[in-house]
């Protein structure tokens, strides 16, 4: 049986593996050095790689990401950390205007091979400015690649692909998954960007999920399995590139589609998935496409309210039952 590690440990393991094989990889961020990051996702890196490659920055989100851009353009592969994904708004100019457009506006002359990692998502009671799922913000910007792993092995494999990519990658680590455990990845493990995984095979209904909603979908599928329903769970892993071939193949088998996403329903990534299925897979469907997404409100603090807003296993089960009864 393979070693088991946490999602949190997988982050530092994934970064360390790339830093060992490529001396041009440099990490930047607030408190990522000796402190190991506020989520301890960079624990051990400072001890191994030292202050020249694990760089503690001031609280300067624009400079962190803008500087990562300049360094990426001129020979370094930066891995920048933005502590909470909510803070991406503080450096959004770089993520919306500068980084994703540089290759394009220069006709391919300038590449920006960087990764911006960030702790995303709710469920931990951090309130409205430290809990958002903002992967849909990134999806709105052509030119970025958008990754959101659900398992420790995928964290390692996708980090490898993201750091080696010549394109800018926004890498969402889900706060609610940091403590979760899974098999570690073998040496050299690499998960290509844009390949969804079938996390559970089934023939009755397809659940498309991402990051934190993958375990919710799996738990819901387990619950339905007791009643004889075989749900298939597709873990998208990436929003850009988006592996719609795997989704359409699954819907071809099941004829029913439920999308489970933690970002708000309004403007959420599920709308894009639903749109492609409606366009390219309409005749595969026997029922309307359903989405379980966050309510369109700022995330409230109290546990009882937060659970009302973001997807839960119970909500996924209820949506599945109504979809199967259609």
């Amino acid at each position: 049986m393979a070693d088991v590690i946490t999602y949190r440990e997988a982050v530092s393991e994934g970064i360390a593996r790339e830093m060992r094989r490529d001396p041009s990889v440099v990490c930047l961020g607030e408190d990522i050095g000796a402190a190991g990051g506020v989520f301890k996702t960079t624990a051990g890196l400072f001890a191994e790689f030292g202050p020249d490659r694990i760089k503690d920055t001031p609280i300067s989100e624009q400079a962190i990401v803008g500087m990562a851009m300049g360094a990426a353009m001129t020979g370094v592969r930066p891995v920048a950390e933005i502590m909470f994904s909510d803070f991406l708004a503080c450096c959004w100019d770089y993520l919306a205007n500068e980084i994703p457009k540089m290759r394009y506006m220069t006709g391919g002359q300038v590449k920006v091979p960087l990764v911006v990692r960030t702790a995303n998502g709710g469920g931990l009671g951090f309130g409205a400015q430290h809990s958002q799922s903002v992967e849909n913000w990134a999806l709105a910007v052509p030119g970025l690649k958008v990754v959101a792993p659900a398992t420790p092995a995928d964290v390692i494999g996708l980090l490898a692909a993201a750091i080696r990519s010549d394109d800018p990658v926004l890498f969402f680590e889900h706060k609610g998954l940091f403590a979760s455990k899974g098999e570690t990845a073998p040496d050299g493990h690499l998960v290509p960007l844009g390949q969804a995984a079938v996390a559970r095979a089934g023939s009755d209904v397809t659940i498309v999920a991402l990051a934190s909603t993958v375990p919710l979908a799996l738990a819901a599928a387990d619950e339905l399995a007791e009643g004889g329903v075989a749900a298939e769970v597709v873990d998208l892993r990436c929003l850009v590139p988006l592996d719609m071939a795997t989704v359409l193949a699954s819907v071809g088998k099941t004829s029913r589609l439920l999308i489970v996403e933690e970002n708000p329903y309004q403007g959420g990534w599920g709308g894009t998935v639903a749109s492609v299925v409606a366009d390219e897979g309409f005749e595969l469907l026997d029922a309307p496409i359903r989405r379980v997404a966050a309510e369109c409100v700022p995330l409230p603090f109290a546990d009882v309210l937060e659970d009302q807003v973001i997807p839960t296993t119970a909500k996924v089960v209820a949506a599945l039952r109504s979809l199967l009864a259609y």
Binding site: S60, G70, T74, V76, Y104, P241
Partner: protein, 326 residues
């Protein structure tokens, strides 16, 4: 392309080089205004006439391998660094011969082989990018320095503060060159900025800050050279404030009527091309007749370059899709 650009860059070191290049920048921008009036230029364009000495002085001081980030008012900087009139005009009229093949436009000029990395249309955006290039230089020990050219208005953007602070604590090899032309769009500097010398702000970062006569190309070259030397000797960043003036309005549609009567005339008496001509004549390097002949040769060359640019093909529609990702 690269060979010609390098040759043009080397010309700045010849006795007549700075005069010639400033005259060329003036002629190109006058031509751009014509093309605009004739309807060949879409969108907007920001002329730098009056500020030629800053662009040429920066380029004359920088090495080919140094990294320059610049603003949308960057035609002059692009030409100074070595891009040809045809490449610059070609980009402004959206043709394949443009330095970005028509994908960038007037505000997005680029030429990494001569250090233009590139021009930025978001005020202040180039500062952190230059700091990042300086970080890459420190990491890779490449001996490269970075220069961020930005306006007086940009000195009130948060990225200015983050950049100077970070460059100072890490002692990065970067020179901050502020083109203080007294206006940010239609707003006079006194209404936006409490200090009369922006160079004073350097004290807040414990780095050298100097006021420079931005109309004197020799003074600009000397100040930038000294700052670059310090940067390369691990002496950290410098803030240089170039006192200068733009003769035109902010952009093509602005007649500049907010400027007090007589102000333009006063600055025209300190025209950078006239000042340099005076130096060449007084020093016995050239006669007024010789310089007049140089200017008319350049005007003819620019006319030809503009005609060539206009005659060049528009980009193929397929270009639209190929530069988003690698």
């Amino acid at each position: 392309m690269t060979g010609e650009r390098r040759e043009r860059r080397a010309q700045l070191a010849t006795p007549l080089g700075p005069f010639e290049r400033m005259a060329e920048i003036r002629a190109v921008e006058e031509h751009i205004q014509l093309l605009f009036n004739e309807g060949h230029v879409r969108g907007s364009t920001h002329l730098s006439n009056g500020q030629e000495a800053v662009a040429v002085g920066v380029a004359a001081a920088a090495r080919l391998t140094d990294v320059v980030t610049c603003t949308y008012r960057g035609h002059g900087q692009a030409l100074a660094l070595g891009l040809t009139a045809k490449e610059v005009i070609g980009e402004i009229v959206g043709r394949t011969v443009g330095c970005a093949g028509g994908l960038g436009g007037s505000m997005h000029l680029v030429g990494p082989d001569v250090g233009l990395w590139p021009t930025f249309a978001i005020v202040g955006a180039g500062l952190p990018v230059a700091v990042g290039a300086a970080l890459a230089s420190q990491v890779n020990r490449s001996g490269r320095a970075a220069i961020a050219v930005f306006g007086d208005g940009a000195a009130n953007i948060g990225a200015f503060h983050e950049s100077l602070n970070l460059a100072a604590i890490w002692q990065l090899p970067v020179v901050f060159v502020c083109e203080n032309n007294l206006y940010g769009e239609y707003t006079r500097i006194q209404l936006s900025t409490p200090v009369s010398d922006l160079a004073d702000r350097a004290a807040g970062y414990a780095i050298p800050g100097l006021v420079v006569d931005g109309q004197d190309v020799a003074a600009v070259t000397a100040a930038v050279s000294e700052a670059l030397e310090r940067a390369r000797a691990d002496g950290g960043p410098t803030l240089l404030e170039m006192k200068t003036y733009r003769y035109s309005g902010h952009s093509k549609s602005d007649p500049g009527s907010y400027r007090p009567a007589g102000e333009l005339d006063q600055w025209l008496r300190r025209d950078p091309i006239t000042i340099e001509a005076g130096r060449l004549i007084d020093g016995g390097t050239a006669t007024a007749e010789q310089l007049a002949a140089v200017s008319s040769r350049i005007a003819a060359e620019v006319r030809r370059a503009a005609a060539d640019a206009l005659a060049a093909p528009q980009p193929a529609v397929a270009e639209m899709l190929i530069h988003v990702h690698g």
